[in-house]
């Protein structure tokens, strides 16, 4: 993993994607080297009246320009404070942090499953997959069409995307797991699963992987206070093979991406 750094960085580009969603681009040579699935802890540099920073996945990077971007959903004070940054204003950025996704083997096909802001890391992931000529498809689900704000951004990057919405306002009607299982049924060769989104969705994908004995990684998003492994606020219950019982492990340093078979669900 590339080394993390704690810097004050300029936010250079802000695009609204409608509703509470926006895309923010920051200047940071360090974070621009991030790997898919890593994240950064961010807070505005001035008037940061919140005690803690907030974690955001690296959605995309431009190592040449030394920039990275995040896909942000403003849901409370911390995310809103970041979303309200004006172009040219600065933020404290700590990153890149955590362990990203394990690239699939040459003979494997990558099935990516994303929902909500959880789709963000797959933009960056698809770049490396394309580079490595890995055959991949993203299953992007949401409650309604309005909950799929990143579609255009992803297709711009030449990703193969299958959409679904609970209310059928866009793509297939129903849960994202339906088109996923259909595709897995149709799949001849080896497959590998990657999921990032609401916990029920990740849990469902993990179950599918278990039934079909397909390797699967999930990116958890517990509350995070520091991103460094020091506050121990972000622990998740993980069952390691050797160990007698599951243990609390900091998701910021040992995750956020975990082998789905190790995760004890419904505890976070």
């Amino acid at each position: 993993m590339p080394p993390a750094a704690d810097r004050v960085c300029r936010m250079v580009k802000r695009e609204s994607l409608g509703g509470s969603y926006s895309l923010l681009t920051f200047e940071s040579p360090e974070v621009s080297k991030a790997q898919a699935g890593q994240f950064a802890m961010i807070q505005p540099a001035v008037h940061a009246d919140l005690t803690l920073r907030r974690p955001f996945s690296i959605m995309d990077t431009d190592p040449a320009a030394g920039r990275f971007s995040i896909f942000l959903k403003a849901i409370g004070p911390g995310s809103r404070a970041v979303a309200d940054l004006r172009e040219g204003e600065s933020a404290r950025v700590l990153g890149p942090l955590g362990h990203g996704f394990t690239p699939p083997a040459a003979d494997e096909r990558a099935f990516l499953v994303g929902g909500g802001y959880g789709v963000a890391p797959f933009a960056l992931f698809s770049r490396s997959l394309n580079r490595d000529r890995v055959n991949s498809r993203l299953f992007y689900g949401g409650r309604s069409a309005a909950e799929l704000p990143l579609v255009e951004e992803l297709e711009k990057r030449g990703m193969a995307v299958t959409l679904s919405t609970d209310d059928g306002t866009r793509g297939e009607k129903g849960r994202v797991t339906a088109p996923l299982t259909a595709a897995l049924d149709a799949e001849q060769g080896k497959a590998r699963l990657y999921a990032c989104g609401p916990e029920p969705m990740m849990h469902a994908v993990a179950r599918i992987a278990l039934e079909r004995k397909i390797p699967c990684e999930v990116s958890l998003d517990p509350w995070m206070g520091c991103g460094l492994g020091t506050c121990l606020g972000c622990v998740v219950k993980i069952q390691e093979p050797g160990e007698s019982k599951p243990k609390n492990r900091p998701a910021c340093t040992e995750g956020p991406v975990f082998d789905s078979t190790r995760v004890i669900w419904g505890r976070h």
Partner: protein, 305 residues
């Protein structure tokens, strides 16, 4: 260039800034983003004899200008620390203080003994003030007799500087400061977190899985400065001021109130590199006030009579 060296018992610190227990892991976690040599000493996460898995999540919640936590002292245990972590820490140019915990007086003594025999431990901070465990912790720190017992036991078990860490959840902090001095403490850490409760009104459950938690951060600074001032007048041993420090000016309040050194806790989470900023601010202040040595500032508060 004003001098920043301070003496805590037999322990000399390059600068009077420490990373508070439970907010910098075991030091190694932050070493890749923070130059540990900018920190006079790091205090480890609380350590018992055995490893602990800690409390359920949520373990931390924000409150106005503060943080409420109930981690439940998750940790690797003193032996694993000595065997696995300490070797990595020795590579770094800072002092290491072990935060000693125990469910019994004997456990405090035993943890202290093991820590003292290890190479690379420079002091013991005795945690008699953790509000987030069911046995021990704050129970020891809110009873002067128990406080005296624990500190005496640790004193007998080590030659290292013994630094009891006081609980602010008491009527008169000076009673506990004196109990520590009588028991042979070399210095006093002042203070640990304040017992608090935050409730999620929708579920009517506490916002922390454990229930109550410890309040820290800028919100508590005026209370911690007051207690530092009271403790410093009550005993002769050095006081280490702790509570809500977020800037050089905040740290200066503690020195002026009587602290010989200070610890930064909660701010490590949002500002891991705050130490170089604080050190620069101290030097600027001392220079402007024509003070050659930080020690000349300690306890110089002009309190109205």
């Amino acid at each position: 260039m004003p001098a920043l060296k301070v003496q805590i018992g037999s322990l000399e610190l390059r600068n009077p800034l420490m990373a508070a227990s439970g907010t910098c892991g075991y030091g190694v976690e932050i070493a890749n983003v923070v130059d540990l040599s900018t920190i006079g000493a790091i205090v480890t996460k609380g350590l018992y004899m055995s490893a602990r898995d800690g409390a359920e999540v949520p373990r931390i919640v924000e409150t106005p200008a503060g943080l409420l936590n109930a981690i439940g002292l998750q940790g690797v245990g003193i032996r694993a620390f000595v065997d696995k972590v300490l070797p990595q820490l020795r590579a770094h140019d800072t002092k290491v203080i072990v935060n000693v915990c125990g469910e019994t007086v004997d456990e405090y003594a035993e943890v202290s003994r093991i820590a003292s025999e290890a190479d690379g431990v420079h002091g013991l901070e005795v945690n008699i003030s953790c509000p987030n465990v069911k046995t021990g912790g704050i129970a020891f720190g809110t009873d002067p007799v128990m406080t005296h017992d624990v500190v005496s036991a640790v004193r007998r078990a080590t030659r290292l500087p013994v630094i009891p860490k006081l609980s602010p959840n008491v009527t008169d902090i000076t009673v506990f400061a004196r109990a520590c001095e009588d028991a042979g403490a070399d210095a006093i850490s002042c203070v640990n977190t304040f017992l608090g409760l935050a409730i999620d009104v929708e579920s009517r459950k506490p916002r922390l899985a454990f229930g109550t938690g410890g309040l820290s951060g800028p919100a508590i600074r005026p209370l911690a400065v007051r207690m530092t001032w009271q403790a410093a007048r009550a005993v002769k041993i050095p006081i280490i001021g702790i509570g809500g420090i977020a800037s050089a000016s905040d740290a200066l309040e503690f020195f002026i109130a009587g602290a010989r050194a200070v610890q930064v806790g909660t701010l490590n989470f949002s500002r891991p590199n705050i130490y170089s900023d604080i050190e620069a601010g101290l030097i600027e202040y001392l220079t402007r006030h024509k003070l050659a040595d930080i020690n000349d500032l300690v306890g110089t508060i002009q309190y109205p009579r």
